[in-house]
Symmetry: D2
Subunit: 364 residues, 4 copies
């Protein structure tokens, strides 16, 4: 279940209608999942900021590095120009460059792209080498195209799907998670949505409750299921933040840093071997960038009005991480098994701590 | 009381003997407090990395900016050279430059400094303009000298003292707080100590428990005491991290970022108007830097061995912040009153959440 | 003489009417110079972006660090918020904090500033400790006020004046220099103006000609004048770039980096001990920032239209540095003498290299 | 010819025996060139820091972004950990990801790499889309392997070879260039070597002489040859700096910035569309990093001893760029022709300016 559906409420702000990054109008999410027996559990997830030609109508954007032990493609051009000109892709570590190449191939074949001779794909990754035979690098251009084209604009699949097929978080099966927050009209009425690919470690903390103390050791739990224990590698997390608030690249950079606040609250200290990145963009129509204009009109939320956006980003990131765990299933993989997070002890711990709300299924 | 003395335990690692930044051998702390009726509540706090001549034996250092709405003096030279050549000072916002000037004056008068014509004082600040008449800028060179010379190497005064005399955190009286962690011998046996000057806002969360929900609104509480309510300004925090682990400037920069993890867990999102800074240094003797050598040693903890240091930094920062609140007294100030954090509802909330340990006074 | 008046032409673009930073409409320059016998040669220079209340109408701004061995005050807030809220001040190293404090004092006393309790002065410095008794820190609040209030909006005094009174560049007397460039209407018709405080070393190169080879060794030259030779310290340079082009902070950051291009061409490699900083701001009226609005305009020149602004910045910086040398007089100072750059061998070398234009006094 | 062989001497320091990056002991250079009629002119160049297993003996490293309009792969991990764990590859823009993927494939197949599941290839690029059909992305894994394995340790092929096969600089045929500097023993006796892939624009300046004024317009020159004129795109440059000086990552970052000084002196302002990057590494044996140790021994050149290394980097970069032009041949390519730089007017201009030394072929 999604966290909120079983009474786990993160923070105090209200989610949007889907409690997903797709609550930011125009944002589409595509997943392509590759599972083959126990050997392969990997995939691609695409975050498409708007339905138009991204290369002709670029979104203001920023990328923040929490801990840079990762292979993220495309960062320097985003930092220099403050914009993203392609969909964003997530995948497994050793597929980063193959996925980037396939995305470029597909993008260059789109209408209107006939004369493009430079393009900057943004591809993030986390390491799915425990559940998947990562050295095989099995992803195909067809799967990349599938992620880029079969988009959801409402509910988003979470857990062991797409780029989350083979990831492990806190010793349990992690993956894709999403959440959103809608600001009060007096705070601008903006929406912030977050999507994560969770694959990191730490002491799992949910809504402030150190549930890790109430959980079996993932390795022992795996053994009790007669399966090899999960890796203790310290993993990584990709976080993507979308908003319809008009923000320039400088303020998006500030916004992105607040995803790290949400990450910290789940029990991560961004360990040495973790690649923890935040990619943030604004879909506000008035700020879309035509590469050929010589003066860019733009507006940006300023000063104190940024703080509610910061809070929304922290809350939505924290909840997206929890959703990535709550929605994942046990996966028997290439080098062992990652069990689904056992919800009963988690919910019991939350209840004991007074941190469980009466379950209120999130209607639409 | 200190948090740990009443059963509030942050994290899982063990503190050092004083549970203070002074557990890092050689680090001394000096406070000078200026209180005058209700009008002035300000001061200076000095963090002195070692007892020698700092200018001749510099400590590897790094400074990280969480949110840069502050006036920190000295940052670019620290970032360029990776070292600090003076004691670190904390004070109130509008006294930053006066304190820096007084420190330079004092430093240039010390033995061996007769020919020094360039020096880089590091001075941080938070805004004590609610409890103190900040525009008066009343600090004197004598007070700066007092902070630099009357040093404690064991227990450290906390709360409304020194640079914490006039600060407000989460609507309650904040100030100076400190804590430390000692790593297992298998993790290197290093010590990490943190000292903070708390003056920021958010939703006060202690050991994961949203105690803010159990507390009166600080403004209403103030009114119930027949005093003007505290400012709702979003304030700032200075965090100073010391360690005896041999770390080069690059790894100190990584360490410093983990103080922001601890900050996030107390309920801060680093709001727009906050100046949130971390200054980290290593006292490892083999890495002290003589400005005149042409090749210097740069041993550093590496790779996975960094992660326990990251955890120690996050935990000690979180506990230092809690201590800054637990140890502060109610202050009737220039523009109103900041009440001491009411401990009973806080401890009750922690107890209800199962987050209170049996009180075990921290012996020495 | 100014370089251009004796035929030294840097680059290919046209200067504005004053060939000075004041060609950017609204920018005013104030100097306060303190000379006392040979002992003191120091001062303050103010760059005032516009005549209004800077705190209420902030300019988008950026600061870039070429080599950070300096004490620049105010950088982190400028980087976080992308704006400057006070005039910019330049001075001698050990006066940085005293000047900042005096500026804050004066600013807080201005009309409309009665309730301001936080302000971020931007103060840069270079080390005038060879010609001036720098440890005396003799600057007074009255001199700071003078620099802030006696402003020139046309011709700017250069050489050994204001913050340039005691600086040394390439072994010769340096100081304040300025220059500007006006873009073709087809490139936007914008103006870029630069002011520098030169105090650095290297192999003096003018318009590409290694004139250092044709010059006497400054130390020997000093001895031939029966005076102590100049310091060989490697100094620093402050560069301030103003433009009326509408630029957001991100593009100002890019613009500022191009001042380092001009610096490189004069023979500097930004030596280890140099504090080389660029402060850039835009005066475009539509982008002035009211701290109280919640959404602010952020128009900015974009894409390829930036390149001519980059060229203008590089050229104007290079020429401003040359002007700082050409306009300085020999100064007999505290620890020795810095001779004015001997123009005859310089101009001869330029002439031999074919790099001297027919002198065309720059009329207005 | 190489620049120095015809009397073009940049700066005042002495080159190493090969005046190439290979003068840094252990550094090998491999080129794979793909030419097919006029349609394809592209390739790969490998810079291999040492002959051992790079993944097990990592080199301290830093990457600096001059202007980030490029697709450089691998930067964030280098910046986080301060080390490079693979050879460095250069290629054409749209081949970046294919080359990275092929390199990963090859590296994972090497002895001792059987269990590696995470690796960070560093791949830089410039855009060869004028002379080569860049959208075809024709490079094969075999060519990448060739570049990685057929290494030169002495003389280095320059000009239109490897990753320089299809690049254009200042409107003329650019490509690969290299140079080195050897420091005096009193300055440490270290060597600095630079290799560039030139593909950028500006006003070509050699040894300070604005030779662009004496050259035909490249477009008109092409037309006079009855060939289509070169692109006016503003291109990019990759600069790789190697040294045997013991430098930690922080000082390598400072060193890398000085390559931009050399770049500036050739007439570049780092235009808006340029991807200008510097990758620097140290081969000092005592600093090689074993990923499994928990404390890294290291030493680093410090303080004033850095300045000669800065000068060496600036000089070698400037000369490497000139060599890339002097050694390139006219190439008739996919969309037009890039002519070899006409040397006669260049040398005439240098001679007139007194900037030509008596030719002294650089013996070995």
């Amino acid at each position: 279940p999604r966290a909120r559906d079983v009474g786990v409420v993160i923070g105090t702000m209200s989610p949007g209608p889907h409690n997903a990054i797709t609550d930011v109008d125009g944002v589409g999410i595509g997943h392509a999942t590759l599972v083959e027996g126990t050997r392969l559990h990997t995939g691609v997830t695409a975050i498409v900021p708007h339905a138009g030609n991204m290369f002709r109508q670029r979104v203001p954007a920023a990328i923040v590095v929490g801990n840079g032990f990762g292979k993220l493609a495309g960062i320097t051009q985003v930092q220099e120009l403050g914009e993203i000109e392609t969909p964003i892709l997530l995948t497994g570590t050793l597929s980063t460059w193959k996925v980037a190449d396939a995305a470029v191939d597909w993008l260059l074949r789109q209408p209107g792209m006939e004369n493009v001779r430079s393009i900057n794909p943004v591809v993030g990754e986390t390491n799915d080498g425990y559940l998947s035979d990562i050295r095989a690098r099995p992803l195909t251009p067809a799967l990349v195209e599938q992620a880029l084209t079969r988009l959801s604009y409402g509910d988003v699949q979470e857990g062991d799907v797409g780029a989350g097929a083979g990831t492990v978080a806190f010793g349990w099966k992690g993956g894709i998670g999403t959440s959103s927050r809608h600001l009060a009209e007096s705070d601008g009425g903006y929406t912030v949505g977050v999507l994560v690919q969770s694959n990191f470690g730490g002491q799992l903390t949910i809504a402030g409750v150190p549930v890790w103390k109430s959980l079996p050791d993932p390795a022992e739990y795996a053994r009790s299921l007669k399966v090899p224990p999960p890796s203790t590698g310290d993993g990584s997390i990709m976080m993507v933040v979308a908003t319809d608030a008009p923000l320039d690249a400088a303020n998006l950079q500030r916004l992105a840093r607040r995803a790290l606040v949400g990450l910290a609250r789940t029990g991560s200290v961004m360990s040495n071997g973790s690649g923890d990145y935040v990619i943030a963009f604004s879909t506000a129509k008035e700020n879309l960038r035509d590469p050929d204009v010589s003066v860019q009109p733009a507006r940006s939320v300023a000063g104190e009005a940024m703080t509610p956006l910061f809070e929304a980003t922290a809350e939505a990131t924290e909840e997206a991480i929890v959703n990535s765990l709550f929605r994942a299933h046990t996966v028997h993989g290439n080098r062992g098994t990652a069990a689904a997070l056992p919800l009963k002890p988690v919910l019991d711990a939350l209840r004991r701590a007074g941190a469980l709300s009466p379950a209120k299924p999130h209607g639409k």
